[in-house]
C-alpha cells in the first residue's frame, strides 16, 4: 500500500496538470494525458534517486490549511513592516533551529513552506548536524519562532513522510 | 455591478504597472547583483499578474497562456541567474 501511493502520485499529478492545461475533461484528452503521464513517470524514475514514501495523506490537508492561514497572517505582518519602514527599519536576523526530520522530501516541503510564507526565507541546512538556518524579517521572539516551526510544520511533515 | 468590477480591474492594472515601475527602479539602482535579480523576478511576477488582469478585462483565455509563459520564463531566467551568481556556472558538469 505504501509503495503504491508513492508510485501513483507522480502520474496522477501529471495527468491533473495536463487536464488543467487543456481545460477539458473529454475522454480523448484523459486517455492521452494518462499515456503521457505514464511515459514521463517511467522516464523520470531514472532521474529520481529515491522515491518518496508518503502515507497518512489526510494529514496533508490540515497542514495546507495551517499554511494558508499563516500565509495570510504573515502577509499582513510584512505589509505593516513595509509601510512602517521609513520610521523604523525591520530587525532582520538569522536563527538556528535543530531539526529532527531526516527525510529529504519532507525537508524539501518544509523549505518550500517556510520560503513561501512572507517574512521567512530558508537559508541553509547543515548536513551533519541537521541544523536549519532561517532568515527572519522581523526578529523579536526567537524561541517562539523555533516552537512554531517545530510544532506546526515539522511534526505533521514527519508523520506524513517518515 | 459591473461598474465596480470595471473600476477594480482598472485599479489592479494600475497597481501592477506601478509595481513594475518600482521593480525597474530597483533593477537600475542596484546596488548588488542579487538585488537586481530579485527585482527582475518581481517585475516578471507583476507582469504576469497584470496579464491575468487584462485577461479578466477582455474576457478571453489567450492571456492565460501568456501569463503561464511569462511565469515559466521568469522562473527559469531568475533561477539561472541566481545559480550563476552562486557558482559562476549555470549547469555544472
Amino acid at each position: 500500500m505504501r509503495r503504491l501511493t508513492g508510485r501513483i502520485l507522480l502520474p496522477l499529478a501529471l495527468l491533473v496538470a495536463w487536464l488543467l492545461l487543456n481545460d477539458t475533461l473529454s475522454f480523448g484528452q484523459v486517455l492521452l494525458g494518462a499515456l503521457f503521464a505514464m511515459l514521463i513517470s517511467l522516464a523520470i524514475r531514472q532521474l529520481r534517486p529515491l522515491a518518496a514514501q508518503p502515507h497518512r495523506l489526510h494529514l496533508l490537508f490540515g497542514l495546507l490549511w495551517h499554511v494558508l492561514l499563516d500565509i495570510i497572517r504573515s502577509n499582513i505582518a510584512v505589509a505593516a513592516v513595509i509601510l512602517g519602514a521609513n520610521r523604523q527599519q525591520p530587525n532582520v536576523g538569522f536563527i538556528t533551529i535543530p531539526l529532527d526530520m531526516r527525510d529529504p522530501h519532507g525537508l524539501a516541503m518544509l523549505a518550500v513552506i517556510l520560503t513561501a510564507t512572507p517574512g521567512t526565507v530558508w537559508t541553509d541546512l547543515s548536513p551533519d548536524t541537521n541544523k536549519l538556518t532561517l532568515h527572519v524579517l522581523d526578529l523579536k521572539d526567537e524561541a517562539g519562532w523555533i516552537r512554531l516551526i517545530k510544532d506546526r510544520y515539522e511534526r505533521p511533515l514527519m508523520e506524513i513522510f517518515e | 455591478m459591473n461598474a465596480i468590477l470595471d473600476w477594480a480591474i482598472h485599479f489592479a492594472t494600475l497597481c501592477f504597472a506601478l509595481a513594475m515601475v518600482f521593480g525597474t527602479v530597483r533593477l537600475i539602482i542596484g546596488p548588488t547583483a542579487p538585488d537586481r535579480v530579485l527585482a527582475l523576478d518581481a517585475v516578471y511576477i507583476n507582469g504576469m499578474l497584470g496579464a491575468l488582469v487584462l485577461g479578466i478585462r477582455f474576457g478571453t483565455t489567450v492571456y492565460f497562456d501568456i501569463a503561464l509563459l511569462i511565469g515559466l520564463f521568469g522562473f527559469v531566467g531568475a533561477t539561472a541567474m541566481a545559480k550563476f551568481l552562486l557558482r559562476g556556472e549555470v549547469i555544472e558538469p
Binding site: 513595509i82 530558508w122 | 501592477f16 513594475m20 542579487p34 530579485l38 531568475a78 551568481l85
Partner: protein, 102 residues
C-alpha cells in the same frame, strides 16, 4: 467585460479580490524600494508572489467561470507554478548573497 452583465455575487467578490491583489503586489514592490539591505528586501516580493497572485487567480477563476457558464479552473496551474517556483528562486538568491558577502 464584453457586454455580459455579471451577477453581483460574482462581481463584488471578484472586485474585492482584484483590489486586494493589486494592493499586495504594489506593497511588495514598494518594499523592494523602501527596505534597506538585500536581506530585508528579499522578503518583500513574497507578498505579491503568494497572496497577491492567489487573489488575482481566484478573481480570474470567478469571472471566467461566470462568462463561460461552466467551471473554468485552469488558473490553478499558474498558482501551483508560482507557489512552487518562487521559493526556489528566493532560496538560491539568499545563498548567492551570503556566498558573495563572505
Amino acid at each position: 467585460m464584453n457586454g455580459t452583465e455579471l451577477s453581483p455575487w460574482i462581481a463584488l467578490p471578484a472586485a474585492a479580490l482584484l483590489i486586494t491583489g493589486g494592493l499586495l503586489g504594489l506593497l511588495g514592490a514598494l518594499g523592494l524600494l523602501r527596505l534597506s539591505g538585500f536581506y530585508a528586501r528579499i522578503h518583500a516580493p513574497t507578498l505579491g508572489n503568494t497572496l497577491g497572485a492567489g487573489c488575482v487567480l481566484i478573481a480570474s477563476i470567478l469571472v471566467s467561470s461566470a462568462i463561460a457558464e461552466r467551471p473554468v479552473v485552469h488558473e490553478v496551474l499558474i498558482t501551483l507554478c508560482v507557489i512552487l517556483s518562487s521559493p526556489v528562486t528566493a532560496m538560491l538568491l539568499m545563498r548567492a548573497a551570503i556566498y558573495r558577502d563572505r
